[in-house]
Assembly symmetry: C2
Homo-oligomer: 235 residues x 2
């Protein structure tokens, strides 16, 4: 089994280190990691270190850092513009995409999004879901979750692909850039509105489909990331 990963603000490169705060509490009191065990520290920006536990007390672990490395960011990166879906469905989408390697998530308050974000709580939930999923899958880079955007506020960059079940081109045949940014647009439960599709097409986005089946908003982004990862040689 892989070593558990804990996130720290600044990664120690060697020597002694105290893991405290919420991560220290989780390691020492919840997971009950004790002296002699090993774990991973990550800064969420590519830095990863293995460490051995030299001491454990309530709320904190004393560590001896063995080895630190820096994992380069994915290139091309994958951004998903994710249509906001009802609570659980949206969080499931975010969790799956993080596990599978998304680099950046843009919450999209689309015309047909049934859920409307009225305060900061849903964004905080997406961010904490990303954090937990990134730890679970031992990701060296923590995906960014931007502020939510309306359709007018979307300023898409890089190669933009819109997941659409009526598209003629399969994702497996879409031209991909060798570097830079790939942006996938995934609609909400009710789909992408015609005027949104038109605006996306006018901005250079290309519609693509994934198979003959209908994918839900909670799995479409993750499925597309898996397909892209295969094509880009990530997997």
């Amino acid at each position: 089994m892989s070593l558990p990963l804990f996130l720290v603000a600044e990664l120690p490169v060697a020597g002694g280190f105290r893991l405290d705060g919420p991560e220290g509490h989780h390691a020492a009191d919840v997971q009950r990691i004790t002296a002699g065990e090993r774990l991973l520290l990550g800064d969420g920006r590519g830095g990863l270190a293995t460490a051995v536990v030299t001491g454990a007390r309530k709320g904190a672990l004393e560590l001896d850092v063995e080895h630190a490395e820096h994992v380069p960011a994915h290139d091309p990166s994958i951004t998903v513009v994710q249509g906001i879906a009802k609570g659980e469905r949206g969080e499931l989408a975010v969790q799956l995409m993080t596990e599978l390697g998304v680099d950046r998530i843009v919450p999209w308050q689309a015309a047909r999004s049934i859920a409307r974000w009225k305060d900061a709580k849903p964004l905080e939930r997406w961010r904490s879901t990303v954090r937990e999923a990134a730890k679970q899958s031992r990701r060296p880079w923590l995906p960014e979750v931007t502020e939510p955007r309306t359709s007018r506020q979307l300023h898409l960059t890089g190669a933009v692909l819109v997941m659409h079940e009526e598209a003629a081109v399969p994702l497996s045949a879409a031209e991909l850039p060798a570097e830079g940014e790939i942006t996938l647009v995934v609609g909400p439960e009710g789909g992408i509105a015609p005027e949104e599709l038109d605006a996306l097409a006018a901005a250079g986005a290309r519609p693509v489909r994934l198979g003959r089946e209908v994918l839900r908003t909670s799995s479409a982004g993750a499925a597309a990331i898996a397909a892209l990862s295969t094509r880009l040689g990530r997997w």
Copy 2:
């Protein structure tokens, strides 16, 4: 938006048809589909028909079948031997795999499966999850969920790939057959035990990995199906 799909025992090829029973109740009373609307009928064995509603009453719809077709089964097919996981995680795995195109699921009571299936209820839940997900994603073929198997009861056929995070070969580089059956083995939360890995290897299974990150048992099968679908030209 795609037309909603309802499952029937025998697919009508043309003419009038009454949709009743649980599917008729769902269509007429829950989804409140009324005269003039259109829907899909499927037999779960490749048969699909479009129909227009000519009459609606409590518990049933009267239909006029417009067009019937038969969608061939996937070749090669994809079977996933899925390590039994705790309730929700197992059902999520089954749901995602069905949405993404799995053809057959073998529930695997692995050495490290924390959950033990003691009666028929968990199997029934997997089967109803498959049925709902297949309807949701408009799949013409309903994936089979076999009886649960222990490690000794696994009789693997076709090209067998074992998802393992320490494997040297990425799934994107694994040799795939052009036809027949591809079997993916996905361990439970605690992973595949060494003696199970040995037995699988002795039976000709090849270990493969998906990227550098750690995938959970609830998403590993779905991610692998997405990767395979891209390579096999399904997507």
